[in-house]
Amino acid sequence: MNIYQPHLMRIREIIDETVDTRTLKLEFQDSAIAEHFQFSAGQFGEYSVFGEGESTFCIASPPTRAGYIECSFKATGKVTQALRRLGVGDTVGFRGPYGNHFPLETMKDHSIVFIAGGIGLAPVRCVIWNVLDLRDQFKDVTIIYGARTVGDLVYKRELEEWAQRSDVKLCLAVDPGGETPEWKGMVARIPTAVEQTVSSAEDTFAVICGPPIMIKFTLPVLTKLGFPGERIYTTLENRMKCGLGKCGRCNIGPTYVCKDGPVFTAAQMRNLPQEF
C-alpha cells in the first residue's frame, strides 16, 4: 500500500456545533484497522471526500476513547464544504495519525491550564478528555474557553458537563458584544480571562490554541504569571498536502509542521522564523 492511500471510514454521527462548524464521528470500515489504530493527543490526519480532495485536521477525540475518531471543521474551502454535504453512513477517507503529540507523560502529576479560542478548542478538547479520562494522574485542571459570540462556542454539551464537574475549573468568555441576555460567563477577551482566572504557574503546564491574534496577546500574560516558554504548549496549523514531510509546503523555515509539529512549545515558537 502506498503512503498516500487512505483508510475508509464511515460517518457514524454528525453533531452541528455552530451554524458553520460541524463534528463528524467516524469509524473505520475495516475492523482489523479499527482494532489496531492508535494515536496520541495532538496528532492530525488527512481527511478526504472522494472526488473533492483531502484536508488536514487534528483528531478532536481523545485516544482514551477507542472505536472511533472525531474531527471538527468549519465549512470554508472545497473539501470542508463537501464534508458538510455528507450524511450519516457516508464514506470518507482518512490517512494518519501524523505528527508529534502533547507530552502527557511529562504533564502527569502537574496542574494544567487549557486555553482555547473558537474552533481552537478542537485540538485542546482532545487533550482535555484524555486528561479527564485519566483524572487521578493530574492535579488541578482549569479550562478557559472563549469565542467571539455565544453562538460561536463549540462543544456546548461538553462545556455544560465540564461546568458541572467539581474536579474541573471552567471559565467561559465571549468578546464584548457577543453576549446574550442569558449569558452567565465572562464578557472579556481571552488574555483578560486568563489574567483573572489563573493565579499561579507553579507546577502547571499551559495548553493553548486559537487564532494567532489570541495567542499573540495571551502569551505575555502567561509569561507574566510565571509560565516558562517550555511549559506552554500550542499546536500550529499550516496548509498541507501529504502530511508526511514530502510535499514541501508546511515548513516554517527549517521546521516542518507535519513532522516536527504540530505541537510546539512557546519557547520553540520564539526560535522559529516569524513566517506563519
Binding site: G53, G245, C247, G248, R249, P254, P273
Partner: protein, 354 residues
C-alpha cells in the same frame, strides 16, 4: 571503481539488445517541436539518441516523479466507496546519456522521499532504473555543478559513467548493476584510454569551474541566520512567481494532491507538480497566507535549497544544472545571486561607533 572499454559498436549493440528485450531506454533526443532543443525521451533505436549535443531542456525528474500521476482510483457504489490501489512496481528502464547533474539529483531527492515514510512510487521507479551517465562537456555560463560539490565527471547516482575516448568510451563501472549491463559488450580498458578519459574530465571541469566557486561550508548557516535580512525584498524583485524554475529543476519535488472526477461517481486522486513560487502554494482556506509576497516565496526557494535541506539531510538541494537561470522570464540568474549572497556572507561586519 573499475574501468572497461566500450566501443561505439558495443554501445549500439547494448542498446539494441535492451530494446529487443522490450526494456524502455530513455536518452537525450532532438525535441520534436524544436530540433535545436534536447529532451530526455524513450528511444526506439540507438540512432535516435543525441548524446552530448546540449543539456536537455528538462531534467530526468519526470521519469521518477511524473508531472501528474494517479495515486488511487475511487468509485462510489451503493454500499459506499471503493478504492483501487495503484501499483508501486515499475517496469525496468535504462537511462542512457544523462548528465551527471541530473543523475546526482535523484540521490539528493531520495533523502526526502525516504524520510521516515517511504514513497514507494518514487522508489519503485528508482529501483527499476539503471543509469548510464556521460561526461558532460556542455557547460555554459549558467552551470555551476562544481560549486555544489559535483562536477561534469561526477558519477554520483550513476551505475555507469561513460567518457568518450578514441574508438568508443571509457566506462567507469560504479555499481554491480552497471557491470551487469556491460557484460558481454565491453573489453579491458587500456592505460591510454584511462589517461585520455582523465584528461577530458579535467578539461570538462575547467569549463565550468570558474563560473562559481564552491559554496562556503557555513553558507546554509548564514542563510538561516539571515532569514529576516532586508536583502530578500530586493533580491526577488525580478521574480514573476511563474514557477518555471521549479518545473525544470531536477531537485524541486514539491507536489499537490487533488481529486478529479472521471464520471459523476468515479475518478482519481492525483499528485501533480507544484511550486513554492506561486501565491496559492501556502494559502490557507481562511485567506491567511504565511508567504504573502514574492520575496517571501523566493526566500523559501533559496532557503530550502541551500539551508533547510542541507540542515535536515546534509545535502544541497541543487545540482548546479543552471536550468532555472535559462528558463526564467525575469532574468533571475541563480549563480549570480549565489555569488552575491556568498559575498555578503563573507563581508566583514561593519564596525559601529566610529
Amino acid at each position: 571503481m573499475t574501468h572497461r572499454f566500450l566501443s561505439h559498436q558495443g554501445l549500439a549493440s547494448l542498446v539494441a539488445q535492451l530494446l529487443a528485450a522490450n526494456t524502455r531506454v530513455i536518452a537525450p533526443v532532438r525535441a520534436k517541436d524544436d530540433p535545436q532543443q534536447i529532451d530526455y525521451q524513450p528511444i526506439h533505436s540507438f540512432e535516435e539518441a543525441a548524446i552530448g549535443v546540449r543539456l536537455p531542456r528538462r531534467s530526468l525528474k519526470e521519469y521518477f516523479l511524473p508531472p501528474t500521476e494517479v495515486l488511487l482510483h475511487y468509485s462510489q457504489t451503493k454500499e459506499g466507496v471503493e478504492i483501487r490501489e495503484v501499483s508501486t512496481a515499475a517496469p525496468p528502464q535504462v537511462i542512457l546519456g544523462a548528465t551527471p547533474c541530473d543523475v546526482a539529483s535523484l540521490e539528493v531527492v531520495d533523502k526526502v522521499m525516504g524520510w521516515d515514510y517511504r514513497d514507494e512510487l518514487w522508489f519503485g521507479r528508482r529501483e527499476a532504473t539503471t543509469i548510464v551517465s556521460f561526461l558532460c562537456s556542455l557547460a555554459d555560463s549558467t552551470c555551476f555543478c562544481t560549486a555544489v560539490g559535483l562536477g561534469p565527471e561526477s558519477f554520483r547516482g550513476s551505475d555507469l559513467l561513460l567518457v568518450p575516448v578514441d574508438g568508443g568510451y571509457l566506462a567507469n563501472v560504479v555499481t554491480s548493476r552497471g557491470e551487469a549491463l556491460l557484460h558481454g559488450f565491453a573489453s579491458e580498458a587500456t592505460d591510454a584510454a584511462i589517461a585520455a578519459a582523465e584528461s577530458s574530465s579535467r578539461a570538462a571541469r575547467q569549463k565550468v569551474d570558474s563560473n562559481l566557486e564552491a559554496l562556503p561550508a557555513d553558507f546554509g548557516g548564514w542563510l538561516a541566520s539571515n532569514f529576516d535580512n532586508p536583502l530578500w525584498k530586493t533580491i526577488a524583485l525580478r521574480c514573476h512567481g511563474c514557477g518555471a524554475c521549479a518545473a525544470v529543476c531536477p531537485t524541486c519535488h514539491c507536489f499537490d494532491i487533488v481529486d478529479e472526477h472521471d464520471t459523476a461517481d468515479s475518478g482519481v486522486r492525483r499528485r501533480n507538480w507544484d511550486s513554492c513560487q506561486t501565491g496559492l502554494f501556502t494559502l490557507h482556506a481562511s485567506g491567511h497566507n504565511p508567504r504573502q509576497s514574492q520575496s517571501e516565496r523566493f526566500r523559501q526557494r533559496i532557503q530550502h535549497k541551500f539551508s533547510i535541506y542541507p540542515s535536515r539531510f546534509a545535502e544541497i538541494l541543487c545540482t548546479g544544472c543552471g536550468r532555472c537561470s535559462r528558463s526564467c522570464p525575469g532574468g533571475m540568474d541563480l549563480p549570480k545571486l549565489l555569488l552575491e549572497l556568498v559575498t555578503l556572507s563573507q563581508a566583514k561586519p561593519e564596525v559601529s561607533g566610529q
